[in-house]
Symmetry: C2
Subunit: 384 residues, 2 copies
């Protein structure tokens, strides 16, 4: 018998999370209906009701992804698990992987692909820059890769990379395209089919405004064909998309025990989204993005990314000279309970990353944020 | 702009899961306090409050695991993600992995290790059998593996495998030991330190009685040393235990966005467990296991595993001749809403798998189950 007892455990305080305004790059605020869904009684992972829930989620994901031909499915892990699933299933050892490298998440893609044994070639740009159609085509035509990776909405920089030219050039070269849609799904159009992406992954805690824990994915017919034609199993069993697709869509044969409550929550978040209407939702985010940038400029501050390349849901604001960004963030968190994030990598100390997504994307909330932001900046020595 | 609209989506019924009695091998019933925790407002994954929650969870896991020297941490995926983390971090390509193969989950371990490039040697036994100390030692001394794997409580068979002799022999041979504790943690003593396990993984939805979605792990000092000494990164980035340990315990540097709500739920489930007291909880499960087996035998049925090798929380009952197990299960689900599972692999059609865990592990619930089980069996032609 174990001799370890746990008096300290029982003495722990009851769970009582502080109330935060989540203006960071995610997680975002969550609709009360989604919290309610989380607390519904669970059923088994092979229960006919849960199979229906998985099916509903897959259907509900099609519109925000812009998928009609391909398949949607959900990985039982966070957005990074989706990224690893994309890498593990589509970039085999020895494959040539061409990455548009302009931020942290393209670095993560690079790292995962290298660990999987791929040969990675990178088109480097400064964090926050994007690629023109010509640049994208030249790179792909020159490198002739097996797989191309780009980040649609780069959370670390606030820059949006259109994918159409990338996908066209990749398909001409016979390559598949992996698109990181972690920060775009639900907050702005992904246009999966129209863009020509083959494999996309996202998360639940940004544009979808659900708590984190799952990774919704989309696969084109071409990607499905690649999976069917695979001669060897991918290195990851947990993230084996053929097995997961079979469990969730085809045979419903046991693969793993899906996170039931998280699926309830995701279904509800997607219902909330569908009821609002995607066009309305995207327009709301665009409107707030403009109001936000206008307010930032009125404070004498500068946005890091030029207007035409901005992600409407995630803003990077340059830290003004003489201000320590960490202190501003701490002040916002300790005072009004506002969470925002700082930059990292080459942007460490140089930008604030401020999300205006989901329930917080209203004009009132933007004004509330700007007013608190101004106070915190002033208290840290910045004068408007 | 995407042309795909979602009228069907909005027309979906509201989420309204049926009420189930989860007598399967997991997920189990969930305490109301855990559901309440799930619906608490989220904070960010780098918020000081969340760091505290992660810390609390790690501390609360030590007693049920029986860890005092090593580390506990939580993987953001289900039990199978924990299994894959163990394989990816401790069984490198070319390593020799010796598996005690007496059920489905040792097959899954085998599959994962092979995908990771390991040389796997297996000690095969029929599903439901266990290994004596001498058999365990002989196998390890003969094979001289780098890593040994065994399943403490085999969900597919109902058999419990003691680990002490395995661990002693493995350590003498200089091997690390991976112990699958998916069905044991929280329902029976794991005795991680005393047994000498180096790497253990579990899930949240069995003995811990929380919804599925996370994998609590434990690592010995020896395992931590192995990680520190690694010269190459493991193939999986998402499941890289050095990075996860750093995020959750040391620097709190961003690795991935942890599933906040699930951590709230796990903390609460572990609090419920700590308040009951582990000895009380284990004794309650043992008592119910005996009452269950007695009731089963009184129905003229046979348990698949001899009494001394049974998992107290998960029972395998032989399907009586002439009865179709799938029909009995359907009848239980459609009628009183009771979920149980069937066997699979070599035990397909031959056993029922019936969990008596967590909130359902009371004498009253055992009697309720037995009475409904008897009705369903009778309706399918079995006469007591």
């Amino acid at each position: 018998m174990s001799t370890i007892e746990q008096p300290a455990a029982v003495a722990l305080a009851a769970l009582h999370p502080p109330r935060r305004y989540l203006f960071g790059p995610g997680p975002t605020m969550v609709h009360p209906r989604v919290y309610e869904a989380l607390s519904k009684p669970i059923v088994g992972h092979l229960d006919p009701y849960f199979i229906e829930v998985m099916h509903d989620v897959q259907e509900l994901l099609k519109a925000p992804y812009g998928v009609s031909q391909g398949a949607t499915l959900v990985i039982s892990g966070t957005g990074s698990a989706g990224m690893e699933a994309a890498v593990a299933n589509f970039i085999d050892a020895g494959a040539k992987f061409a990455v548009f490298a302009n931020g942290y998440f393209s670095d993560r893609l690079t790292e995962m692909a290298k660990r999987n044994g791929a040969i990675v070639v990178r088109f480097e740009k400064s964090w926050g820059e994007t690629y023109s159609d010509d640049e994208a085509r030249d790179f792909i035509q020159r490198e002739k890769p097996n797989v191309v990776g780009f980040v649609h909405a780069e959370t670390s920089t606030g820059a949006l990379q259109p994918g159409r030219a990338i996908c066209e050039a990749a398909h001409e070269a016979g390559a598949l395209v992996i698109g990181d849609c972690v920060t775009s799904l639900g907050g702005l159009p992904v246009e999966f089919d129209e863009t020509g992406i083959d494999v996309a992954y996202s998360c639940t805690q940004k544009g979808v405004s659900c708590p984190p824990g799952l990774s919704p994915m989309a696969m084109s017919q071409r990607a499905m064909e690649f999976l069917r034609a695979r001669k060897t199993a991918p290195r990851s069993w947990y993230l084996d998309l053929k097995l997961i697709h079979d469990y969730s869509t085809v045979s419903h044969r046991y693969h793993h025990t899906a996170p039931i409550s998280m699926f309830y929550a995701l279904r509800e978040a997607l219902m909330v989204m569908a009821e609002e209407g995607l066009e309305n939702r995207w327009e709301r985010h665009r409107r707030c993005s403009k109001a936000f940038a206008k307010g930032i400029e009125a404070l004498g501050l500068r946005m890091h990314v030029p207007e035409r390349h901005r992600i409407p849901t995630l803003n990077t604001v340059c830290v003004p000279a003489g201000v320590e960004e960490g202190k501003v963030r701490k002040r916002l968190l300790d005072g009004p309970g506002i969470e925002i994030a700082g930059g990292f990598g080459p942007l460490a100390g140089k930008v604030f990353r401020i999300g205006v997504m989901g329930p917080l994307a209203t004009e009132d909330n933007v004004q509330f944020f700007l007013s608190e932001f101004k106070k915190a900046l002033s208290a840290e020595g910045y004068s408007v």
